[in-house]
């Protein structure tokens, strides 16, 4: 028995026509262009340059964010029922001067007219950044402090070559789920009181005491901000009242009076929350929203995710429905819709060059629905369906909706409804296998003593990464490794074709000199180990820099473990569970490449090692076309299941295990371990564009396969493709995966769709299948039409490799990659050309 009482879980009678506020807000959102906001960088710079006298990093951070929040403009977005905005703009581009905002300096006068993802910026803001902000940070950004501290380390230089790996620390401390449950159940005043008393008790430990004092200060800033929001709402109520008195048209007057009442309610709400625990569903949503705004001031919102809001908010939703505070479910849909649209009120900053590799990404704020609760019972409730309906109506890229499904506990009707929403939006939610994920989390965090209850209480971070929600600082997007770079270095004795004669990695014997397949495996392992080692080293260096100059008191206040158990900032290891996430780009391409080498060079002898190298250097053209045909026609491919692809399967198993073992053998700067995942955002297109031909038969410049998906065209049958990925050892995939599939809409009916997912998750009786899968329900011709006529399709969302994006915002290479993805007829299970 679960918490579902709705007679019709689709809520189809609730539409944008019946909710004109959401319709108008949505239209206004899409009509707005992102604009640079200088409020935060100016406040941070002014404080640290002119006011800061604090030596202790914990106290400095507390005082800084208190100042930032006390000086943050109190705004209420037009038409919204939730008070507060991330920036001073309708859609603000947030800049963090201590992190990577300074990358925009070259583009200050051109970003408004750049082709990809332009940002508006006023002449005044150009001057502010040019003269008042950026100069202060020339030697003070996290990257530069790290570089100086370690004398321009090789690991940082390699990262700056772009082709080997990326490390997220220069840009963010993020990729986590704060504990919003504590906001709803306790309120911030209680947290402040706790921090205060713990601080007094910690007089023997100055660092710990400073931590608690910093938390108290920062939370005081949040409460100050909400009180000023309350005043602002009251001011706007009075303004609406005055306008109503002057209005002669009865309809407009009624609208103004209604808005006046809403402002008055928002004023009362903000007077109470988030200081006190919310008493109603509306109060709870605004409390969480204000806390999220506060967190956005402290750190870049890169995958700062929401966790299990259908669980956290259910008590108050249910109470309000029963006692009539919410007159009907439509009011709840409207409030959640306001929350969804609020979350879309800002975008991450990205320099134009980054658009090539990461173009089109939003903030990737994941929300997690359904699954089982801490006791293993069905957690799906009416609020789950409310949130699904909002997702279906608004079709926004953020929040990134992730649905958990437990095939032994959740009801089939729930899975079918998820599939329906997926079909209607084309792209969301994505699906997570509770059985497999919970098992994997238990194994991954076993050393840290994770309980079964905590493992069950997982939420999705960012794209697809599962962590125990509200208690794990997993920084799941810490490192992105281009696995094909390791392959290149194994082929070329530690060199990469892009860096020519320069010795990058260990001087292993090039392919031509490797006598056996086992020798080649060792060479590849050596290069993979080298890249992981370098990336981890830099991540750890940068993490220590953050500990010194960029503490996070607000996030720490909302992370289980920091206050009660450890008395430490999140960045110092305060969370209950700690890890750092690596994600691997190019797995299928590398598996296919090494398999081709194993099959044709070492097993059959059909292609010599020298010919293989010559072939990829010639982009498989000329004399090498016959070799390309051999390789391309082989069934030994990632994604083809059965006796004809045993080598590919064995190689996939080998690499996935090797990479996970290598990662988990390393400690991060917070005493946690590294985890390994396979989701790629848009990097598979970006890295693919700059990579030459590979032994798999891939030609130069072609996108890699996304996530943990097979190369397009290599897995012509759906069931073997699902079996292949489902058959990988999920215990070795410890930082999530993105299996990206495309189905033809006309062949995709909810029940068949649901059965396919169920079969993939179960993988046969008593077994456990794949961790995750996500879909684009769209055909190639329609996508091509979207490219030809972007003006007709401005807001279409697609699943990229983890998150959803607006198709028109993706760079051309990424658009082509999605178009080229294998498309399956669900009725027959065949790939359709």
């Amino acid at each position: 028995m679960n918490g579902v009482t709705l007679p019709d879980v689709s809520l189809k009678d609730i539409t944008l026509e019946t909710l004109p506020r959401l319709d108008e807000m949505r239209k206004r959102h899409f009509a707005s262009r992102p604009e640079i906001c200088t409020e935060l960088p100016l406040n941070i710079t002014h404080y640290l340059r002119d006011l800061d006298q604090e030596a202790d990093p914990g106290l400095r951070a507390g005082k800084l964010y208190k100042y930032v929040l006390e000086n943050k403009e109190a705004r209420i977005a037009e038409g919204n029922l939730l008070a507060g905005t991330t920036s001073t703009k309708d859609i603000g581009v947030m800049l963090y001067p201590d992190l990577y905002a300074i990358c925009l300096w070259p583009e200050l006068e051109t970003m408004a007219t750049r082709e990809q993802n332009p940002f508006k910026i006023s002449p005044e803001d150009i001057d502010i950044l040019n003269f008042k902000v950026f100069p202060f940070w020339l030697d003070r950004t996290v990257m530069e402090v790290t570089r100086k501290a370690h004398d321009n380390p090789r690991c940082e230089q390699l990262m700056e070559r772009l082709v080997f790996y990326m490390v997220g620390k220069g840009a963010a401390i993020s990729h986590t789920i704060p504990d919003y449950g504590v906001v709803v159940e306790n309120g911030l005043a209680a947290l402040m009181a706790k921090a205060h008393s713990l601080g007094e008790a910690a007089s023997h430990d100055p660092e710990q005491q400073s931590f608690y004092q910093g938390v108290e200060l920062a939370l005081g800033g949040v409460i100050n901000y909400s009180e000023r929001l309350s005043s602002e709402a009251l001011r706007q109520a009075e303004q609406a009242n005055q306008l109503a008195k002057q209005e002669t048209d009865p309809q407009r007057q009624a609208k103004l009076l209604k808005r006046k009442d809403e402002f008055q309610q928002m004023s009362e709400i903000c007077q109470r929350v988030p200081a006190q625990p919310p008493r109603t569903f509306w109060e709870a949503l605004n409390a969480i929203w204000i806390c999220k705004i506060a967190l956005h001031q402290e750190n870049v919102n890169v995958a700062l995710s929401l966790g299990r809001l259908d669980q956290i908010l259910y008590r108050l939703y249910d109470q309000d429905i029963k006692n009539g505070t919410l007159k009907n479910v439509a009011e709840a849909v409207e409030l959640v819709g306001c929350f969804w649209l609020s979350m879309a009120d800002h975008v991450p900053m990205s320099p134009e060059a980054a658009e090539e590799i990461l173009g089109g990404t939003g903030s990737n704020q994941a929300i997690t629905l359904g699954g089982v609760d801490r006791d293993g019972k069905d957690a799906v409730n009416d609020l789950t369906y409310v949130m699904l309906r909002v997702t279906e109506l608004l079709k926004l890229r953020d929040p990134n909706v992730n649905a958990r499904y437990h095939y032994e506990v959740n009801l089939p009707g729930y899975l079918e409804r998820l599939c329906e929403v997926n079909i209607n939006t084309c792209a969301t939610p994505c699906f997570h296998n509770d059985v497999a994920v919970i098992e994997t989390l238990k194994e991954t965090y076993k050393e840290q003593g994770i309980s079964l209850k905590d493992a069950r209480d997982y939420g999705i971070v960012g794209c697809v990464e599962p962590t125990s929600a509200g208690r794990t600082y997993g920084f799941t997007g810490a490192i992105y490794i281009n696995l094909t770079a390791a392959l290149e270095m194994a082929l070329f004795g530690g060199k990469h074709r892009l860096t020519e004669k320069e010795q990058i990695g260990p001087g292993t014997t090039p392919l031509a000199g490797l006598k056996t397949w086992e020798d080649f495996q060792k060479a590849l392992e050596t290069q993979i180990n080298f890249l992981i080692e370098q990336a981890v080293t830099f991540n750890n260096y940068a993490g220590v820099t953050h500990q010194k100059i960029h503490r996070t008191p607000m996030l720490s206040a909302l992370m289980e473990g920091c206050l009660d158990q450890k008395g430490k900032d999140v960045i110092c290891g305060g969370a209950t569970y700690n890890s750092s996430g690596v994600t691997i780009i190019g797995l299928a391409d590398v598996v296919d490449s090494v398999t081709a080498i194993q099959e044709f060079v070492y097993t059959k002898g059909a292609i010599s090692a020298n010919d293989m190298i010559a072939a990829i250097n010639a982009d498989w053209e000329g004399d090498y076309k016959r070799f390309w045909a051999l390789v391309n026609n082989s069934p030994e491919k990632f994604g083809q299941d059965g006796p004809k692809s045993m080598m590919a399967k064995a190689n996939a198993d080998w690499l996935v295990k090797f990479i996970n073992d290598n990662c988990k053998g390393r400690l991060n700067y917070r005493n946690g371990r590294y985890t390994a995942g396979y989701w790629t955002m848009t990097t598979h297109a970006g890295f693919g564009k700059i990579t030459g031909a590979l032994p798999s038969g891939r030609k130069a410049g072609e996108s890699f396969a996304s996530g943990i998906t097979a190369v397009s065209g290599s897995a012509p049958e759906l069931t073997p493709c699902l079996n292949f990925v489902g058959g990988l050892d999920h215990l070795q995939i410890t930082n999530g995966q993105a299996l990206n599939l495309k189905f033809l809409p006309e062949t995709t009916k909810p029940s068949a769709f649901a059965n396919t997912i169920e079969a993939y998750f179960c993988n046969g009786v008593g077994k456990t299948g794949g961790l995750q899968v996500q879909f684009n329900i769209i055909d190639r011709e329609t996508l091509k039409d979207w490219v030809k006529h972007p003006e007709k399709y401005p807001h279409q969302i697609v699943r990229v490799s983890g998150y959803t994006a607006y198709f028109k915002d993706l760079n051309p290479q990424m658009q082509q990659e999605i178009i080229a993805r294998a498309q399956y007829d669900l009725a027959t299970g065949h790939e359709v050309p």
Partner: protein, 144 residues
């Protein structure tokens, strides 16, 4: 007759061996009359090509921009120099600095440019290099 708009266009579209010399002289002249962009800024940049034919040190200090050719007997002046830019040829450097065809990523990945040092100073330099050109081209648009 000195044609600043013509020079701006040439810098954007073309590159010869003298590209860097001309760019730096243009910047020097421009920031002499618009000192707010360089006053209070201290930074140094060493541009050298891979053939060893070009070696230019640019120093900003106290609002002045000093350009020295073949300045360093010391082969390793970092970290005293804010940024060292090793470039393949003038065309690579032009594409890297002036971003006309959004080629920055390509020039780095193709190994046409290697940067050592504090990237933040590089971002400042790229702004300083482009600002006069944008200003002059905007002026042309206004005049025509």
């Amino acid at each position: 007759m000195f044609d600043p708009i013509g020079m701006a266009k040439w810098l954007e579209d073309d590159a010869t061996e003298e590209f860097l010399d001309i760019l730096l002289e243009m910047m020097k002249g421009f920031y002499l009359i618009r000192p707010k962009y360089t006053k209070n800024f201290t930074g140094s940049y060493w541009f050298k090509d891979k053939d060893g034919k070009v070696s230019i040190l640019v120093k900003f200090h106290n609002g002045e921009m000093e350009i020295s050719k073949n300045p360093h007997p010391d082969p390793n002046p970092y970290p005293e120099t804010s940024v060292i830019v090793d470039f393949k040829d003038s065309d690579s450097l032009r594409r890297f600095l002036l971003d006309v065809k959004k080629d920055i990523l390509k020039v780095i990945l193709n190994n046409e440019i290697q940067v050592t040092g504090n990237y933040n100073y590089l971002y400042k330099f790229v702004f300083l290099a482009n600002h006069p050109i944008h200003g002059l081209l905007n002026l042309e648009n206004e005049l025509t």
